[in-house]
Symmetry: C2
């Protein structure tokens, strides 16, 4: 009955609760840096507890991912809701894509969790499902205001975010902010019309830097 205590059972003994929190914190750090495909051994070591302790608290890897990312995904929802309150609907879209980019560029595991349904469990799944309508609201508002091309539909928005995420993923180690450049290009493609290119938000890689990409 490893990790089924949920909320119904008695609370954990103090030392157990402490170790559990350490594991979650360690998992968040390690996932952010190296993605979710790390071993539980690595996380346990990073948390300073034994492997057995990790498996006593979390039935398997998926359950730890669930615990580690629920709050991260909820943060993404909060970002979308904040973007919706932006006075200018278009700037709301820009802000949403910027803050999303900032998060996934810094957190490799988060990007994986957002994009892959098989990761995590019910808590992450629930958060992920709330994220979609929050994001849709931001885009739809801009579209109704005429600031966003109107041939787009709600199912397109996650793919827009995915494109940014892909550039962030590949440039992470060489130029962690490079994705901002491609976000600008994308945004220029999302507008109904425009007269000139929006100034790019980050310099291009030089050829040498580029060579270091994709390793």
């Amino acid at each position: 009955m490893t990790a089924s205590e949920k909320s119904t059972d008695r609370p954990l003994r103090a030392d157990a609760e402490r170790n559990k929190q350490r594991l979650i914190a360690a998992a968040q750090e390690v996932y952010a840096e190296r993605g979710v495909e790390v071993t539980l051994d690595d996380i346990a070591r990073h948390a300073g507890v034994g492997i057995g302790t990790a498996y006593r608290r979390f039935a398997d890897h998926a359950e730890l991912i669930d615990a580690a990312f629920e709050s991260e995904v909820r943060q993404m929802i909060a970002l979308a809701e904040a973007a919706l309150t932006h006075q200018d609907p278009w700037e709301g879209v820009v802000q949403l894509l910027l803050t999303t980019g900032e998060h996934v560029a810094r957190n490799r595991g988060l990007r994986e969790v957002l994009v892959n349904r098989r990761l995590g469990r019910d808590r992450v799944a629930a958060a992920r499902e709330q994220l979609t309508p929050a994001v849709n609201a931001v885009f739809t508002r801009a579209q109704q205001a005429g600031h966003l091309r109107d041939d787009l539909e709600v199912t397109d928005f996650p793919f827009i975010q995915m494109m940014i995420g892909a550039t962030a993923e590949h440039s992470r180690d060489v130029a962690p902010e490079l994705w901002r450049r491609y976000l600008t290009v994308l945004l220029d493609g999302l507008r109904p019309a425009r007269n000139s290119p929006t100034p790019l938000a980050h310099r291009a890689l030089d050829p040498q830097e580029f060579d270091q990409t994709m390793v």
Copy 2:
């Protein structure tokens, strides 16, 4: 000395050469469908030969990838060169991104090989290096003709292709042509200016289809 015969040594015995070609053909099929992270056992079985035979011909997985993708990457070079001969420089860019998209959408392994330096060996590496200048030529010509925003630099072009590849990857199983839609948006972001959105090249997913994405 498993697979070091290269070109210098004597030719393989007829049956060995036949098995080698079978292995390469099987690898191309399996990689295209399931990516390069399949086991050599799977490929051997698919080719109808024993595992031992596979390892006698190819020192390791990387060497088989090298043999299987050299021609695929060379095809990509040919596509870029063909796009360069297009009368209209901008249509050359469009054609390049379209044909590239078609290839990577149909071949999961190809996308992985193009994007990840660690895959393959010297033959794929050499082809990959020739691909970059060929792609650059197509973009640079359009840029000099004033059809492409001129704040882009050559190191940006692979990232443009990467964004298309990311959308192709994620929608492959549900709507293998969906990437065309996002290519249109991206192209609209690449132009120096425009008055209205280019008509999208593919319908959007409906919410139900979207749910099937990302599994």
